[in-house]
Amino acid sequence: MFQVRFHGRGGQGVVTAAEMLSVAAFLDGRFAQAFPSFGSERTGAPVVSYCRIADGEIRTRAPVESPDALVVQDATLLHQVDLFSGVGSDAYVLVNTSHTFEELGIAELAGRFRADRVLTVPATEIALRLLGRPLPNAVLLGGFAAMTGAVRVDAVVAAIRERFAGQVAEGNAEGARAAASVVEKERSGRAATD
């Protein structure tokens, strides 16, 4: 089973991200479960959501305590909430930011993980460019797919098209693919330097 935890703020589509990921996994023919760590709907408050992906029935309903992948949609949470609780050193970490880890003040923290599994994607900027709105959730999923291989990028795009319609769907889909390229480039760049 592959377990993912999403962190963000209310209004950023953190819950939708987990749901779309679960749909992408479903479209890949796998079992998936997505749910939020629940709260009243309040913009700006820290929100956590979860997604589990497996090849068979997923029975547990407990929150994800040891995620295999962490997706951070809002970098301002980094120093406010203990995002890395339960995250092992083999986990994937994807942070939505156009800054470096040094600039974010988490270089040391990032160093605890495998270099090819800790990546950033400027998803908000991509979303602004392709969608006209700073909504990074679907975009980030493209990066997530490229980084982990847990779902195909094509499946993410299909899930986006199921969830949204028209221009919004296409903008998000393009953004997801763009994020996937960013990740692929970053990884081959790192591989080149390793």
Partner: protein
Amino acid sequence: MLRQIEGSRAVAEAVGLCRPEVVCAYPISPQTHIIEAIGVLVKSGRLTPCKFVNVESEFAAMSVSIGASAMGARAYTATASQGLLYMTEAVYNAAGLGLPIVMTVANRAIGAPINIWNDHSDAMSVRDAGWVQLFAETNQDAVDLHIQAFRLAEELSLPVMVCMDGFVLTHAFERVELPEQADVDAFLPPFEPRQVLDPDEPVSIGAMVGPEAFTEVRYLAHARQLQALARIPELATEFAATFGRGSGGLVSTYRTEGADTVVVALGSVLGTLKDAADALWDAGVPIGVVGVTTFRPFPAEAVAGAIRGARRVVVVEKAFSIGAHGILAGDVTLALSGLDVGVYAVVAGLGGRPISEGSLRSLLEEASRGSLPALTFLDLDTQLVARELERTVAHRRSGPTAENLLRDIGTSRRVAGPAAST
């Protein structure tokens, strides 16, 4: 058709397939997505003929359902927690009148303190009202139980509530097989009421009944619930034949063969319990899991049968009778009386506190060693409790308990990730 959708949406689709004629909508977290989705079904013409009524309270929701059902219309509504309490008078009324209303209860804790998260205190508060109470373990269950609920309700002239864990199931995206309309129509024929208000054959419904007959009326309601005990497994078999998958029934069992210790529970925690049980079997600790699908009528015989061979039973429940004991534990104890089995009550998940697989494993390990007390509050923060008790001893005006605890948590712990972020 296989879909990956939110539990609430799945339930809305299932209810829509059952062709309700009057749907009452009053919002309360966490059921709102259900009635919203049904509203869209009605407005878009996918569910027709159906009147969707935006009522002014939950009391009105159940009352409008009563009026509609008495006129021979298939009536449905959904609620949770405070809403269920607010309509309690009408909930009893519906059962007493024998109206086959179906209602979804998205289980949520009851305040004070106000809490929007999942536990079973709401369903438990009306367990004596005469409604059939079914508990879904998964969203597939929730879909399937609603279809069986309408059939059972109308056959026996009894209202049925389908309980599903609020947020945990209602807001979870998972794969669900949604049935075809033709199959549902074959399983659930049009509503033929036992009693109906008809100008051509006037009847008076709802007269006062005095001491000379009240006991008999109540006894007949009980008898009907006992009929349900027999009917529910039969319907489950018929359901399986029509839809090609098992669901419903009185109880479910998992790896109870050869298990010394069996854990009994209601609802979604059964999934986590099964994972815990597997891990424990692997570690040489045989644990069986029994799910109670039908809570009212209480399937005492089926529970006793499922427990067979075990030496101890751990009842994990998301409710509690304050000042007394566990509620499900009480029913289970009664069902097992006469058998040489110890029953251990565990109260867990109150107010939406997550139940981790790790906690369950430790709990069940302790149980298998025979060292569980009769009653356990799982993951209780004893220090937090102790500090509040000290405050009450030290000051007469110690302040509101809930607020004191929250302030205490806020100052003594840094907000730290998901475990404390709710």
